[in-house]
């Protein structure tokens, strides 16, 4: 019999429904694993009493005969989702000890208000989700379970490391410019960022409001599909950018896809576009080799590969790093030391209190982005930077629509390299921005994207294959990934730390 932590979300749910194990027992097993792997730095908060109370409630629902697909299965939330049962810090000293009076919509839908999953706590992340190595967390770095001297990626680095190390079966993440896909790639797990507006942003600590989007991270596409079905859907009264589109039963679509007519290949007819800009000299050879191997596998499954062009790919970096900091500087102006958050111990007057509280509460990267954002929005620079960036953003979105007339989905690498050493890039912000090149353009366009384990590169570190779909095509992405995962076992490999 497999250990509980080796089971998938779907398998755990089946065991719970068959009463082979209770939700309390499952939660206890994972909590013990979380504590034994404390050195990973994946968790910022756990609370056994709260988790076991949630598990007890799930067991009661199971005993009453309820059979929903995720009932009683544990997960953990990235610490940018506000929660009543656990503190919420967004990885920042600014929010040390912050307690939300309410749960984020995503937390409620996955938890007691809906699917009945059990929260094991809050996962470490880059401060206010700004970073790509999780080394901007104000609390502690997160280690990559495949090599603990390396980063897990970011900003959802705690989520990725926890799933990879099998100390949680699934986690939530958020993606503004790649923060689900990139850590999923670097840590060898599966993650999907849905279409912008699919999952409610209500209760997500805001970074860049026109880009932020929640999504699931798990070991397989099927597990992601199960979570996304519960997370997504309209939240019209609470999130003004929530789309009025019902969530699909993504997992049912994947399972239905398993039955196919004899003699046909599972991905027959699927056209996969390869942007030439994603396969250039900027991508390291080991990553390209793994990605090309995955593409060959997709061809064997019946897909055809077509070359396409996204000419503004490189420009997506400055465009994103103008727009996201601009929105961040506005969103983070709420931290003034008055209603919540850090307040300096000594100050002379109100303005001094604002300045000292904010300067003490924000870390270096957050401060840098507030400075950039304030500058590009300031009088005399707004047109040259912010408006110009929004115009190019429009061109980027249009380029994707041209490409989607030539193919059904787009594929390429997620990140130009495998995970780097912790601390290696911490003093060169521009170099680290450049590494976001393959994830930013789809974020700017608001398109869904995912990362699927595709093999290993240098130093035995995981490489992810990025799949980008057109708006609302989450089901197509998940089903392509699912077919790939039925033919490969990259997503089942486990790091030494997960033994």
């Amino acid at each position: 019999m497999s250990a509980l932590h080796d089971l998938s979300v779907a398998q755990l749910a089946a065991k719970l429904a068959a009463k082979e194990v209770s939700s309390v027992e499952v939660a206890q097993h994972f909590l013990a694993r979380i504590h034994s792997q404390d050195a990973l730095g994946a968790f910022l908060a756990t609370d056994e009493e709260q988790s076991l109370a949630q598990a007890g409630a799930a067991d009661a629902r199971l005993a009453a005969g309820e059979r929903t697909p995720l009932l009683g299965v544990p997960l953990a939330h990235k610490d940018v989702f506000v929660t009543r049962d656990f503190p919420t810090t967004a990885g920042s000293k600014m929010l040390a000890n912050y307690r939300s009076p309410f749960d984020a919509t995503v937390v409620n839908r996955l938890g007691a208000g809906g699917a009945g999953m059990v929260s094991l706590g809050k996962l470490n992340c880059d401060e206010f989700a700004m970073g790509s190595g999780n080394d901007n967390s104000a609390y502690k770095p997160v280690q990559n379970p495949w090599d603990t001297s390396r980063v897990p990626g970011g900003s959802s680095g705690g989520s990725a490391a926890a799933v990879a190390a099998r100390i949680v079966p699934a986690a939530t993440g958020t993606d503004t410019g790649g923060s689900i896909r990139q850590p999923a790639s670097l840590s060898g797990i599966t993650g999907i960022k849905p279409t912008y507006g699919r999952c409610s942003r209500y209760g997500m600590v805001a970074f860049a409001s026109s880009l932020d989007q929640a999504g699931p991270m798990a070991r397989s596409a099927l597990d992601c599909a199960l979570l996304l079905s519960a997370m997504a859907g309209p939240d019209l009264d609470r999130d003004s950018t929530s789309l009025d589109m019902p969530a699909a039963d993504y997992a049912a679509e994947l399972i239905a896809a398993n039955t196919q007519a004899a003699g046909t290949k599972p991905l027959q007819g699927l056209r996969i576009g390869l942007p030439t800009q994603f396969f250039g000299a900027g991508c390291s050879a080991d990553v390209l080799a793994a990605v090309r191997g995955a593409l060959t596998e997709l061809e064997k499954l019946g897909a055809t590969l077509v070359d396409v062009s996204l000419p503004l790919t490189e420009l997506s970096i400055p465009v994103y790093y103008v727009i996201a900091p601009a929105e961040a500087s506005s969103n983070l102006s709420r931290y003034d030391g008055v209603r919540y958050g850090h307040r300096a111990a000594e100050y002379t007057d109100l303005e001094d209190m604002y300045k000292k509280s904010r300067t003490e509460g924000f870390g270096d990267e957050v401060t840098r982005r507030i400075m950039i954002g304030t500058y590009v929005l300031s009088h005399g620079y707004y047109d040259a930077y912010y408006l110009k960036a929004q115009k190019i953003r429009h061109l980027i979105a249009e380029d994707f629509q041209k490409v989607f007339s030539q193919c059904d989905i787009i594929a390429g690498p997620v990140s130009p390299t495998v995970a780097w050493k912790i601390g290696e890039r911490s003093d060169d912000p521009v170099a680290s921005y450049l590494a976001d090149i393959y994830t930013l353009s789809s974020s700017l366009a608001g398109l869904p994207g995912m990362s699927v384990p595709a093999g290993f590169g240098a130093h035995g570190m995981p490489v992810g294959l990025q799949l980008i779909g057109n708006y609302f095509k989450e089901a197509q992405l998940l089903s392509t990934a699912h077919r790939f995962q039925q033919a490969t076992d990259w997503h089942q490999r486990k790091p030494g730390a997960a033994a």
Binding site: N97, Y98, R99, P101, F102, Y196, G197, S210, L236, D237, S240, D244, E314, L315, I317, P318, V319, Y321, V322, V338, R339, Y340, G341, H342, R343, Y347, D349, L350, E351, Y354, K355, K356, R358, F362, T367, R368, I370, M371, I372, T374, Y375, S378, Y385, L387, K388, A389, Q390, K391, I392, R393, L395, A397, Q401, P429, V430, Y433, L434, G446, L447, Y471
Partner: protein, 99 residues
């Protein structure tokens, strides 16, 4: 066009941040490095292009929704003030603003 330390001081004030002098120099170098990257945007012809503030505009879902103007949240003053730095009688305390 490079930023100067005066620009940094002005922007820091606008953002209500208090940078130490040594930080100002460091920040200046980093921001100038960043804005060299941003200058690439100038090469793109955007004549006649509408700014895209929001991906929903591409999806044609731009109409702002209005919900009925009724209170839907319960009063949770105590829970909301649990994390406040300074509270007295249910009020947030700030330094004196008017003499």
């Amino acid at each position: 066009m490079a930023l100067t330390s005066q620009d940094i001081a002005r922007v820091a004030h606008l953002a209500r941040l208090a940078l130490r002098p040594d930080e100002t120099e460091h920040t200046l170098g980093q921001l100038n490095g960043f804005f060299r990257l941003v200058e690439q945007m100038e090469a793109v012809n955007t004549d006649g292009v509408e700014p895209l503030a929001h991906p929903a505009a591409v999806l044609g879902q731009v109409a702002l929704r209005l919900r009925d103007d009724i209170a839907t949240e319960p009063n949770q003053r105590d829970a909301s003030q649990v994390s406040a730095p300074a509270v007295e009688n249910g009020l947030f305390l700030v330094p004196k603003v008017i003499e």
